[in-house]
Amino acid sequence: MRKIKTIIKKEWMQVFKNKMVLFSTLFLPLFFTALPLVILGVMGGESAAEGLTGEMPVEFIKICPAGMNAAECSQVFIVTQFMLLFMMMPLIIPVSIAAYSIVGEKTTRSLEPLLATPITTFELLVGKNLAAATPAILATWLGFAVYALGAYIIVDSPQVLKALFNPMWLIAVIVVGPLMAILSVNFSLIVSSRVTDPRVAEQLSAIVILPLLLVFFAQISGIILINQQMVLLMGLILIGLDVLVLYLAVRLFQRENILTRWK
């Protein structure tokens, strides 16, 4: 545990000494928190909202709780769409940090002395994973808390607030989001340990965002509608995937190749 903690602290000290990295970590949660609040504020009026319902997917309008008017339904729509952003945030934020973490050490030649210590591959990767995923998860949770508080102030309707604090979304943000973060970081670590150029690592790591983007667009276009069962299923699948990808990351981390492929 001491070694894992050491790796986490080292990564944070290195990463957050770079002001631009700190800014890029904080920017996305700030933006994703402010944007829905602004839209909720601007479009919360009944007349504007009535216009919106016409553009909503039919499937979505159908599930608006009975007795909810068009304005409230629009607000529920907005709230629901942006909840997906809070699931995406922990997936996107840590990717660049994780993608750089192994290949970056390779290029600065600090990986060899690190691998010469008695640290195991599992300890190294778990340390690097938690170092990249934890700030993203915390930033997401903080953003969500600010978003929830802002929405509570802006939104009048108890039914909209009920939709906002729907247990399904709370599970999505509090449980599924972090599981996604761990998955994306593990995937990025695999990429980072297999390539020799940090730019390639970042580009390839971005692939992990695609499946969630598909879910996002599918929900906006009404092809699917995320419900409680789907979130629980996602959670269960992600737990399995996290374990599997961590196992793969450890297996694919070949010290010898990493050291000898150095130019």
Binding site: P113, P118, L259
Partner: protein
């Protein structure tokens, strides 16, 4: 402390280390010499359990490479070819990281001990990236020693350093030897190897030769004795050729350079012979070839 038997490493079609067999004794400074690409760094990586051998066996500090890798990594220190420091972290924090990774009992105490010992204590809060090359090298040496390993692998410890820094590092290595640590020193600096090493191995994918520097000189060039005479003449050179146990004679200015079998025993006889022949001997000494000559000769022979 280090024992290898037919240790071999192949990278796909490239043979990097070919059937290396050696023994390094406790407390010995062992020089590992060879040209670029000879496989020195690969050998160090094998012995530090960073990479696995293709064939053969290596035992380091009683632990077998490929089977007890964690124990080996815990018990040896390594100075890699490049310092590999975290440039945006302080010197002190750079060491603290490694003290924790090596699970040192008193990390702060060990960090302070080595920062002071290497004269970096006053700069401990400065980022490692602001250090000169020599200071970075010293910091990397401190990092390799934090867990008090009894075997230390130093890969080109003075490469690229100015003479003053190189000397500081060399003095420090001597100090480590006096503490009884075993040091495996890879270097291109033959003068350094000559001064520091008890034994050296000349290596180019395979072991070319391994012995003490003096024995290697004798092995490669034979032992030559220089007689400084008041007046060296061709006649005296002819007389010298007839002396017992003399293999070759060269006349250079007022000197006779003689290759003699076992000069420790036979020199008095040769001196008597030359004096009887009328030579006025000013002084006698052994011609000491540089280790560079020995090394170049061996590498040339290998080619």
């Amino acid at each position: 402390m280090i024992h290898t038997e037919n240790l071999t490493k192949k990278f796909q079609t490239t043979l990097a280390v070919d059937r290396l067999t050696l023994d390094v004794q406790s407390g010995e400074v062992f020089g590992f010499l060879g040209p670029n690409g000879a496989g020195k760094t690969t050998t160090v990586r094998l012995l530090c359990s960073l990479i696995a051998p293709t064939e053969g066996r290596a035992v380091v500090n009683g632990f077998t490479v490929g089977h007890q890798d964690q124990q080996i990594r815990r018990s040896v220190g390594i100075l890699t070819e490049t310092p590999g420091l975290y440039d945006n972290l302080s010197a002190e924090y750079n060491l603290q990281i490694y003290a924790n990774l090596y699970e040192v009992a008193d990390p702060a105490g060990q960090v302070e001990k080595y920062l002071r010992m290497l004269g970096l204590w006053d700069r401990r809060q400065d980022e490692a990236g602001t250090f000169s090359k020599g200071m970075k090298q010293k910091l990397a040496i401190a990092r390799a020693l934090l867990h008090e390993p009894n075997i230390l692998f130093l890969d080109e410890p003075t490469a690229g350093l100015d003479p003053e820094s190189a000397r500081l590092v060399r003095d420090f290595v001597s100090e480590l030897r006096s503490e009884g640590r075993t040091i495996f020193l890879c270097t291109h600096n033959l003068d350094e190897a000559d001064r520091l090493c008890d034994r050296i191995a000349v290596f180019k994918t395979r072991m070319l030769v391994m012995d003490t520097p003096d024995r290697l000189r004798a092995q490669v060039f034979g032992r030559r004795v220089v007689f400084h005479l008041l007046h060296a003449t061709p006649e005296l050179a002819d007389q010298a050729r007839q002396a017992p146990n003399v293999k070759t004679v060269q006349l250079v200015d007022n000197k006779l350079v003689l290759e003699i079998d076992n000069p420790d025993e036979n020199n008095p006889q040769v001196i008597r012979h030359l004096v009887n022949a009328g030579a006025e001997i000013q002084y006698v000494g052994e011609l000491r070839r540089s280790l560079e000559d020995v090394y170049l000769q061996l590498v040339r022979n290998a080619e």
